[in-house]
Subunit: 311 residues, 2 copies
């Protein structure tokens, strides 16, 4: 079983009310890959510049991530994002974006990357996502993320790409924006009519909801006393979620597998935000993940005990 | 087992993107009482004016609510609220508030109302809430709601009142505002240090979370295709929640009882918003409630199936 992820590999500068980092490894594909690496073989596809050094590769290699398809652009510089969060950690404020080598990125998958079981198209321009999806026609399960920028600037390309994947992961506000439906349930059903069999609404500090056919499943975020850096939480969720799906195999994952995948995604996202950048997930153990999923199950379980109700 | 609720009895004018009503029965105590009436005897305490007619009483009596402690002010007019919602149904916009008889309300509980098992102090001025709480010293479980207005204008009175109840129900943003803690977990723990053994964070469309000691439990809102009118959702939640607590008795409800109470609160809130005002809950059946709680349980359950994780 293997997962391929295509997306950004970046250096991030992040400031929160609690602390800051001037330059650290980040990017959607990196956060995804590290999270998924606990479950299955992971290949990461994306461009970097000359400033991407052995110590960055080492973070990925330490988790067993295959970096053969990282495209090193001679003379180029790696994608850079600078942002900050105020006390409302749900809202990222972008202060600076340098696309650098990402501006001319044309994803090319090696035979090994094409031959994945699960493919994740992290948030990049939707035509590029669709191109990648077509390079990997035999992937058993294909999921994608996107963002408001593409809903605004490339809605037709985005919709065409969504039509070719099995699962769309998107922030709940963006799902509403994408479909024009104020009800999240209607929004998810609209997306499923376009093609995907599953939709995951990411809800930040409130957790995530899964829509599949008529089915609905929701989990709260794991409660934390301190969130240090929310950057990458959504991609860490996707990595835990799709890593679990890959580990379980099957063309169309059964609903009980998808629910457990949501729990593993939730766990990985919660670890990601406990420290800056990739710091926490890099030092994570399998036992910590298993324990957190068990905690999450205890926190969301209630017994059935109907009471007599008065008409 | 019985519940007494003290709060507003109102006429509401509500406009949403879907429809509107120019004048309908509302108020926090009314929404609470109707929801709680499925579980236990309910007494409602609050002031009304001459404009409160037999047809309004009839809505309460049809659900068996005891209205003996409704205080009718001769020559007065009933509290009136006019508001609207845009497509973001989580945000109520107040267009007009006429306090009317509510301006001089001094709650006086009859012996029967004082002698309740469970007491709910709906959102009114915190000194009035504390006065009511002291009229009912033997209530086994006392809960209260509040709002940003009192956090801003009467923080000391509010805190003194919170110190004398068992459970605080509050919107999550208001819990942060009240405590100055950006983490909801820290905010809830701060409140518990003031006195309450339990805190419920109401999260609107995202559901609700329960904090009790070190325990945490969360439920999503029931997914609905159409929300017609969110007015009273929080009070309907409180009515289902505390009605269930009252039906189960016990001085300090056990954690499994509180979790089921959260589920019943969630169910009642979801019915409330399906139609305007009290329309849906007035026509609700016990079977519909039981079915929705069972659905909610199915929507939040996942099996435990640890996978081998790669270190």
């Amino acid at each position: 079983m293997s997962v391929t992820v295509v997306g950004s590999i970046a250096f991030d500068a992040v400031r929160t009310p609690f602390d800051e980092r001037e330059r650290m490894l980040g990017g959607s594909a990196v956060h995804f890959a590290l999270a998924a690496s606990f479950f299955t073989d992971v290949r990461i596809v994306g461009p970097v510049g000359d400033d991407f050094t052995e110590s960055e590769y080492q973070v990925l290699h330490a988790r067993g991530v295959d970096t053969e398809d990282i495209e090193r652009v001679p003379g180029g510089r790696t994608f850079f994002w600078r942002g900050h969060y105020d006390y409302d950690l749900n809202v990222a404020h972008t202060d600076e974006t340098q696309l650098n080598v990402f501006a001319d990125f044309e994803p090319k998958l090696s035979p090994a990357s094409r031959d994945c079981d699960v493919l994740f198209l992290a948030n990049i321009q939707p035509d590029l996502q669709r191109g990648v999806r077509r390079q990997s026609p035999n992937a058993r399960f294909v999921a994608m993320d996107s963002m408001n920028l593409w809903i605004d600037t490339a809605p037709d390309a985005l919709r065409a790409t969504i039509a070719e994947v099995d699962c769309l992961l998107l922030n709940d506000a963006e799902l509403r924006m994408l479909t024009g439906e104020p009800s999240l349930l209607r929004a998810a059903r609209a997306v499923m009519r376009w093609g995907p069999s599953q939709v995951v609404a990411k809800q930040g500090e409130y957790g995530a909801a899964l829509f599949a056919g008529d089915g609905f499943f929701a989990l709260p975020a794991f409660p934390l006393e301190t969130v240090l850096d929310p950057t990458g939480a959504g991609d860490s969720f996707a990595g835990g979620f799709l890593g679990y799906v890959a580990a379980h195999g099957g063309d169309s994952p059964a609903e009980d597998v998808m629910r457990r995948a949501m729990a593993y995604g939730t766990a990985l996202a919660s670890f990601n935000v406990e420290q800056f950048g990739t710091e926490r997930v890099s030092s994570l153990t399998g036992e910590e993940i298993t324990d957190r999923v068990a905690d999450l199950r205890r926190m969301t379980t209630f017994a059935d005990a109907p009471v007599p109700l008065r008409e």
